[in-house]
Symmetry: C2
Subunit: 443 residues, 2 copies
């Protein structure tokens, strides 16, 4: 349709996922993420992706649109043995290619069944139909082979839907067939992870910078993703070589770091719990956590890291007052005087677990996750977090937004971030910190 496409060659692609089940709310098409990643590695950008239901006409119309716009179309799904599986028919029909049963493919499918002591059902025969002129892409993990169709300067790749069949097949196609023809350089990515600021603060601080990047030579595309108390800047650049791309992204990283400083906690893909674990390991310190409102989430995140048993010995979840006293030695009078959700109790929890576990670093977290339990002075989302090390005693009160699960996630994230900052002598991040804690003990 747009004729520029014809001159661009393998710089652009489109992805089409076929299957009515992908149009039902809980399902998302995640195959396209894998395919996009492989294509980007080769410097090929994805220009559009479509999910279309099991209707032959719809599949054909969507495919024709894509072939009009780009030279490379990747389709996934709809190659199975049932009547719903119509990708093969729709593609062959649109391109005017005749379908012929391929003896080799049929043999392979029969063998696959035989190896499990089964006879191939007649319905599977249609998986052996191959458009005349197409090349077969063997499937190591299933019965439906993929197809490579080249026609009128366009490449159409048909892949089976199950990820464990699709992924190895497409990885091989990308390496062996697409890479030699994609002379378009490489798309490099970097993810900067930030904690201790709100999304709008980060936007406000960094927006001018990343707007400028889009207008410079070697433009950088930026996407901002936010999970509870974690903001990710995803930077990508399409460069002639990986070295040039990475240098460009590293320069961008420095620009962001100059603005947000110690709030960047990861530039190499590490999660916050991994960064904390690495910092503990470097000092030879061990950690213990006493959790109330986070209910074990901090402990679970710390132990998501392989090798964390080197520095995690014991953590305690003390959900009521009595448990805080019995298990952590928090004086009942302290709870009575200041309330269970207070900087005093968070600190006493951290002291208690640190002493009883015999470790160097400890964390105490107490708060109101909701939906009930809040008051005017301490509404839902109020959380006190204490971090104690041989060198420091830090406590803060936060006010987190959202419901029960978000408050848990925010509190766990900020607790881990406080540990990270204390271990690297950085200031504690300001986001969500109450300047005047409801009951401050003058820290």
């Amino acid at each position: 349709m747009t004729d520029t496409a014809a001159t661009i060659g393998l710089c652009w692609a489109e992805i089409i996922a076929v299957g009515s089940e992908l149009l039902v709310p809980p399902r998302l098409d995640t195959n396209s993420l894998f395919i996009t990643g492989c294509l980007n590695e080769l410097g090929i950008e994805v220009r559009a992706k479509t999910v279309v239901g099991d209707r032959r006409d719809d599949v054909a119309v969507v495919l024709r649109g894509a072939l009009d716009r780009v030279h490379l179309v990747v389709m996934c799904g709809g190659l199975g043995p049932t009547d719903d599986d119509l990708t093969r028919d729709a593609a062959a029909g649109l391109l005017g290619m005749r379908l012929v049963e391929d003896e080799l493919v049929l043999d392979r499918i029969r063998q696959r069944f035989a190896s499990r002591g089964m006879r191939m059902p007649e319905t599977n025969r249609r998986q052996a139909l191959v458009p005349v002129g197409a090349e077969v892409l063997p499937n190591q993990n299933g019965t439906a082979p993929g197809l490579w169709i080249e026609r009128d300067g366009r490449i159409l790749i048909l892949l089976p839907g199950p990820p464990d069949e699709l992924e190895p097949m497409f990885a091989q196609v990308a390496a062996e067939r697409l890479a030699p023809r994609a002379g378009g350089g490489k798309i490099c990515r970097k993810v900067l992870r930030i904690c201790g600021r709100t999304e709008s603060e980060v936007e406000e601080l960094v927006f001018a910078t990343y707007s400028r990047w889009t207008r410079e030579a070697l433009p950088i595309a930026t996407t901002v993703l936010t999970a509870s108390a974690q903001i990710e800047l995803h930077l990508s650049v399409h460069a002639a070589t990986e070295a040039i791309g990475l240098a460009r992204l590293d320069d961008a990283r420095r620009q962001v770091a100059a603005i947000v400083g110690a709030d960047i906690f990861s530039v190499d893909g590490r999660a916050l719990e991994q960064v904390v674990g690495d910092a503990l390991r470097q000092r030879g310190w061990r950690i213990a956590v006493a959790e109330s409102c986070t209910g074990g989430l901090i402990s679970s995140r710390l132990t998501d890291v392989a090798g964390s048993s080197d520095y995690v010995l014991v953590n305690a979840v003390c959900y009521n007052n009595e448990a805080k006293t019995t298990w952590l030695g928090v004086p009942a009078e302290l709870i009575h005087a200041f309330g269970a959700v207070s900087e005093e109790v968070a600190t006493a929890m951290a002291d208690g677990v640190r002493e009883r576990a015999g470790v160097e670093v400890s964390v105490g977290v107490t708060g109101i996750a909701g939906p009930t339990g809040g008051s005017e002075r301490k509404p839902v989302g109020t959380v006190a977090i204490a971090v104690i090390t041989p060198d420091a005693r830090i406590v803060r009160t936060f006010r987190f937004p959202g419901g029960r699960l978000r408050v848990k996630q925010f509190a766990a994230q900020m607790a881990l971030d406080m540990v990270r900052r204390v271990l690297s002598d950085a200031e504690i991040g300001g986001a969500f910190v109450l300047r005047r804690a409801p009951e401050s003990f003058g820290s």
Copy 2:
């Protein structure tokens, strides 16, 4: 294009998301899930959905294709103030509608900025452009209004991209403008959650049943989703009324229950931790968990449930042998004799935490999450789980597949499921249970 579309009316829709940032691997278009849910409520099925980058020609071509196929197209994103935001232009251009600045819209945008003490930047002016003949959909949470365009029997709805702006706007449009015109009945859904079987077991058992549903009057569509040790059957039916649809789904539920029995743990949307919590509350019992390899995940899931402080007092994560002895009273000799990962130690952990917490129900979990720590006799994925109540003492050894995080997830899920089954006097699910435990104590 297909002329049947013209006669079907508001039974079918397509969704188009605009934005190059949605074509970068980490991003998924989740707005379409919300929109699909609202449309399904009205009996409108989504026939295709497309994500297209910020290219005016591409947006126009994709939109034309959709308008050829269906009578209702919902577009989201690309209504912002920057040059990238070209949905409005592309749609107006395609439909031959002139764009005119709307004074009321412009006023509203100016006021929005003024209310924060800011002047409206000139670039935001373009958000006030409205195609002549379109209706403005006010935006409560942002500057970009939505647009409702009706033309040649087709309805085109343009929505802003941020979910907190899109969702209330589309919910209102669906209720006020689409509902009266969608005479197509209702799409009802039910989710059956199953634990204690592998996905292939469930497929094998239920496949014939749900294949039959698709051929019956009032066909049911079934999607199978699997997370670690949890299998979900998503059933949906398009019925004339909600009552008819729900009756049909309830009948389907009974058919599945007759096959998989107590392995169905939820038919009403409740998560496993909620089902466990409800069962505890019904008996007036409290629970304590002693975790090793799950690292706090079971505790965190139990406390995800609002009101769980009624039955969760204290949980302990004891990651090394000494902690199991000091904190839970597991005899060091027992660990020495049977190994930390054994049914004996799991049981002693459960006994210890039960006695020390003074509760009725307890769980002990010990295993090898990996990647290191496995042996030939006890490879990575070996996990012993004990559940103790006033009436029962149950212990099982499992062998879970996958890496560290999956083993944690599997173990947490199966531990909660064991509690559920013990509380409802059901058999323990067989999936992943080792028939001959490495070191069984003859239970």
